[in-house]
């Protein structure tokens, strides 16, 4: 009797265990994310249905092979970190599905047995974020198209103004000829010349703005970049009665920059600052160019004590084809500057109030510059 009871109990326990096992298996397979268990050799020992559906049969293959079709483990592998420290690690990754489709996922790795001394297995749980990435890409594309639309509208506006100047020049010259008025002929001719020059500037600026080039980074001394600009503008500033000063932190070491690109940025900012001083009614105007490094951030600043910029204009200057210089500007200088700064992984900002001058700041993280530099060197070699 005793043994029969024991057998019944064992059977009940076995049945219960089987049921739990089935339930866990169902949960493991149906959970809406990819779950794999990998051993110390990064070999997959278990994978759930969701994973198999997207990546194909996985058991006994290496995770880097099936996730990314690599022949060796991935750099900064979160699973490797978990094997080392037993902690949970997360990272964003991009893999290739079984139908060659791109899959973006967030992977979280943790030890299969919590608190174990030796970690032999790691669980990788990944959430497919491809739809979110696609949405992000669509938003970026929509913004890009919006910016293109704005740029084209701005370009059309600039061209119409130039056409108006050319029409005007033509009209005044022909009226001068009709009236035999030399002064009028000269006035009209000057207008024609000016507007032809504007066309050249506009085309040049627009081409430089539209170039989608990768910056050509080389190790340069940021102080030298500033000194070059001071040299270039000292006469123009002096002739206009503007004091041009510079402040250089001599402790700054070399950093990778696209020399021509930063030269263009500083040229745009300094010429804008000089124009702001010229337009201002204030006496004792000055422009200061600064370069410094704070917390591994390289900072170029162009400061002026001219007329300053009001809030409405400040909102537009980096985003639209915008000029406050009447016939003197194409409205592309700051757009081009922002583009070059962004190509360096940096950011540009302005601090200004109407009537109180302006301070334009370009900031670059040294680490980001170095990463870009290493990447560009690798690309050159390959």
């Amino acid at each position: 009797m005793k043994s029969k009871i024991g057998v019944d109990r064992r059977t009940r326990i076995t049945n219960k265990n089987n049921r739990w096992q089935q339930e866990y298996q169902t949960l493991f397979d149906r959970v809406p994310c990819y779950v794999t268990v990998i051993d110390k050799n990064f070999r997959i020992v278990r994978a759930n249905d969701a994973f198999r559906e997207s990546f194909g049969d996985a058991v006994d293959r290496n995770c880097y092979d099936i996730y990314k079709r690599r022949h060796a483990k991935c750099p900064n592998c979160p699973a490797e970190k978990t094997f080392k420290d037993g902690k949970t690690h997360r990272s964003n990754q991009q893999g290739i599905g079984k139908c060659d489709q791109k899959i973006h996922y967030v992977v979280s790795t943790s030890a299969l047995i919590k608190g174990a001394k030796n970690i032999n297995y790691v669980v990788e749980i990944s959430s497919d974020i491809t739809p979110i990435k696609r949405l992000e890409e669509k938003v970026i594309e929509a913004k890009r198209l919006g910016a293109v639309g704005q740029t084209v509208a701005g370009l059309a506006h600039s061209i119409k103004n130039i056409l108006m100047g050319l029409e005007g020049g033509k009209y005044i010259v022909s009226l001068g000829l009709k009236k035999n008025n030399q002064q009028m002929i000269n006035q009209g001719w000057e207008m024609l010349e000016r507007n032809f020059d504007k066309t050249t500037s506009l085309v040049k600026d627009f081409l430089s703005f539209s170039k989608g080039r990768v910056p050509e980074l080389e190790m340069v001394n940021p102080a030298d970049l500033v000194l070059e600009i001071v040299d270039l503008y000292k006469n123009v500033a002096a002739q206009s009665g503007i004091e041009l000063k510079y402040e250089i932190d001599n402790r700054i070491k070399q950093a990778p920059f696209d020399k021509a690109g930063i030269h263009t940025c500083l040229t745009n900012l300094v010429s804008n600052a000089i124009d702001a001083c010229l337009m201002s009614e204030q006496k004792g105007t000055m422009v200061i160019i600064r370069v410094s490094e704070k917390r591994n951030k390289l900072i170029f600043e162009v400061h002026d004590n001219g007329g300053g910029i009001d809030y409405e204009i400040k909102k537009k200057i980096f985003t639209t084809f915008f000029t406050t210089k009447g016939g003197g500007g194409t409205g592309l200088g700051l757009l081009t500057t922002r583009k070059i700064v962004q190509e360096h992984g940096g950011k540009i900002s302005v601090d200004s109030q109407k009537g109180k001058g302006a301070n334009f700041k370009m900031e670059f993280l040294r680490k980001r510059l170095m990463d870009l530099y290493k990447e560009s060197k690798k690309q050159k070699i390959s």
């Binding site: 108006m164 005007g168 020049g169 005044i172 009028m184 207008m191 204009i313 210089k325 009447g326």
Partner: protein, 129 residues
């Protein structure tokens, strides 16, 4: 009829001012000009022109903001205004997308840059009797 009438040109572009000045003078008008809104406001009160040619995109303050200010002044709001701008397309301009306040009437006429002189003068004739 309209000879000698005063016309104020408001535009930040010196060449546009020079061009319109010559066109208006050679058609018998007396042009005045301002290259920013501050000067335009001062001049409009001083000269009290018979018509205003107004650009939209200008530094610091736009032509629209000047137009709204005109409409808020009893003595100035009846001066006819021709908007002359590069942002006008085929004589069309969505004034209400800039000015939501329906109590401010739209300007009398829109002309796209570059202007056609005949059309420009005809519109002025129509507005100044």
């Amino acid at each position: 009829m309209s000879l000698g009438k005063k016309i104020l040109i408001v535009d930040d572009e010196p060449d546009v001012i020079a061009y319109l000045t010559v066109v208006l003078e050679s058609n018998g008008y007396r042009p005045y000009s301002a290259n920013d809104i501050k000067t335009a406001l001062r001049l409009v009160k001083k000269v009290h022109p018979d018509l205003i040619c107004l650009d939209i995109v200008m530094p610091n303050e736009t032509g629209i903001s000047f137009y709204i200010k005109l409409q808020q002044e009893k003595t100035l709001k009846n001066i006819p205004v021709i908007i002359i701008s590069g942002i006008i397309e085929s004589g069309k301009f969505n004034f209400r997308s800039y000015v939501k306040n329906s109590s401010i009437p739209p300007p009398e006429c829109y002309i796209e840059k570059p202007i056609k002189i005949e059309n420009f003068i005809q519109n002025i004739e129509k507005l100044i009797h």
